[in-house]
Amino acid sequence: MNTENIEAKVIEFIASKVEDVDASSITAASEFEALGLDSMDRVQLLFDAEETFGVTFEDDEVKDFHCVKDIIDYINNHQPSSSSSEND
């Protein structure tokens, strides 16, 4: 999955998880708080993101996540390399 695809898919994923937010208004810069996500909602969101994108978030790395871009960057940085893509 290329970077642009990941961004689009993460935004689409976020849109499916938030309530009372216009999906078209969600961008990479959208902050969780502005999307109505409280601290427990964010924990649930990251759990669901792990299931959806096949990544594992490390606790000490996600504690400072505050916007959609943080998830996008994490997934981009933890993409399996082509030589180890046998499980893709």
Binding site: S16, K17, E19, M40, D41, V43, Q44, F47, D48, E50, T56
Partner: protein, 407 residues
């Protein structure tokens, strides 16, 4: 002080509204079939009373669904119905609105799925604990409806719903609430739970290819209970305030009795059952001869149905033959913590309609089960007083007495 029932709601294998459930019950509809919600091919008991067409999306947001176990969702759906049926509860102050819900297993669907993930070194959903905890159903009912009074949960295995309703009665009698949303909920048609009851030889295993005949209380050939799922919720309030606010009154909850066997952890005991029924009748300030219908616990186990029959004969003497008894579990299986609430709804509908739903699959009764169990066909008889029994692991015995509004 009279306490009355002013609202009812239900989710069951034969109907997810009071009208649907009662029409199905009167017609003797059968809600038992092969287990659909997981692959039960490795289980010895592969049948259950499952709820069909239950869609939590019809009344919950995606976020609420993520945060709730199925048993809570069933409880919420039944509570929504009951509160709407009662005409809403705006008449009362939120701090005077209590919840008392029973569940034997709580959020065990969540527990089982999260345990499986953990054992496979996978992360677990963050709401594993608040979904699993037994009081999540009561908490969510309160949250959705703004009920800010006492919020109680009772877990006494198969008598949980009966105890919860009794606790609701106590809250009203002692002035600790003005209205109580009460009942029971259970959703444990699950691999580990089924295996656990199998290990106790409590479940039917001989009717996997003939599920419609598996739940057969009091009948020859019964070989254990069939797991069921569901929820039943009542709205209770004082008769004077119910009348003042113009609520319709279904029945009086006249008596509550409970007793512990303090003997075996799972085996039934006749003395405890007699004691609970006797206590409920005394609490209702009536004599045993006034009881004309019993919604029996009657799970379809070889021992349990005989013990309950003996207990009824012991307490009621000659009058036992005059009482009509029926077993809701013959149609829906054993809904564990919800069973007493669903049985109570059946008893209340009998008081309301003068109809008694049948005990199905009762072509030939066990020779030791020799009372009138309304076999196979609904009966018509005007009723004034109904008793609902619930007996649970832990030696818990609960009886509730319902009567027509004015006695």
């Amino acid at each position: 002080m009279r306490i009355v029932v002013t609202g009812m709601g239900i989710v069951s294998p034969i109907g997810s509204s009071i009208d649907q459930f009662w029409n199905a019950a009167i017609n003797g509809n059968n809600g038992i079939g092969p287990i659909q919600c997981f692959d039960a091919s490795n289980n010895r008991s592969r049948i259950a009373g499952e709820i069909k067409d239950f869609d939590p999306k019809s009344f919950l947001s995606n976020k609420q669904i993520e945060q709730t176990d199925r048993f809570t969702q069933l409880a919420m759906h039944a509570a929504n119905q009951a509160i709407a049926d009662a005409g809403g509860l705006e008449y009362y102050k939120p701090r005077r609105l209590a919840v008392s819900v029973g569940s034997g297993m709580g959020g065990f669907a969540t527990f089982e799925s999260s345990a499986e993930r953990k054992l496979n070194n996978r992360s677990i959903p963050p709401f594993t604990v608040p979904r699993t905890m037994a009081n999540s159903a009561a908490a969510w009912i309160a949250t959705i409806h703004g009920l800010k009074g006492a919020n109680l949960t009772c877990s006494t295995a198969c008598s949980s719903g009966g105890n919860a309703i009794g606790m609701g009665l106590d809250l009203l009698r002692t002035g600790k609430a003005d209205a109580v949303i009460t009942g029971g909920a259970e959703a444990c048609v699950l691999p580990l739970t089924i295996a656990g009851f199998e290990a106790l030889y409590a479940l039917s295993t001989g009717y996997n290819n003939d599920p419609q005949h598996a739940s057969r209380p009091f009948a020859k050939g019964r070989d254990g209970f069939v797991m069921g799922e569901g929820a039943g919720i009542l709205v209770l309030e004082r008769e004077d305030s119910a009348k003042q606010r113009g609520a319709k009154i279904y029945a009086q909850l006249a008596g509550y009795g409970c007793a512990c066997d303090a003997g075996h952890i799972v085996a039934p005991d006749m003395d405890g059952q007699v004691a609970a029924m006797d206590a409920a009748i005394q609490d209702a300030e009536i004599t045993p001869e006034r009881v004309d219908y019993i919604n029996a616990h009657a799970t379809s186990t070889p021992l349990g149905d005989v013990i309950e029959t003996k207990a009824i004969k012991q307490l009621f003497g000659k009058h036992a033959k005059e009482i009509i008894i029926s077993a809701t579990k013959s149609m829906i299986g054993h809904t564990i913590g919800a069973s007493a609430a669903i049985g109570s709804i059946a008893a209340i509908m009998s008081l309301q309609t003068g109809m008694i739903h049948p005990t199905i699959n009762l072509d030939e009764a066990d020779s030791e089960c020799d009372l009138n169990y309304a076999p196979n066909i609904a009966l018509t008889k005007p009723l004034n007083t109904a008793l609902c029994n619930a007996f649970g692991f832990g030696g818990n015995n609960v009886s509730l007495v319902f009567s027509t509004p004015i006695i």
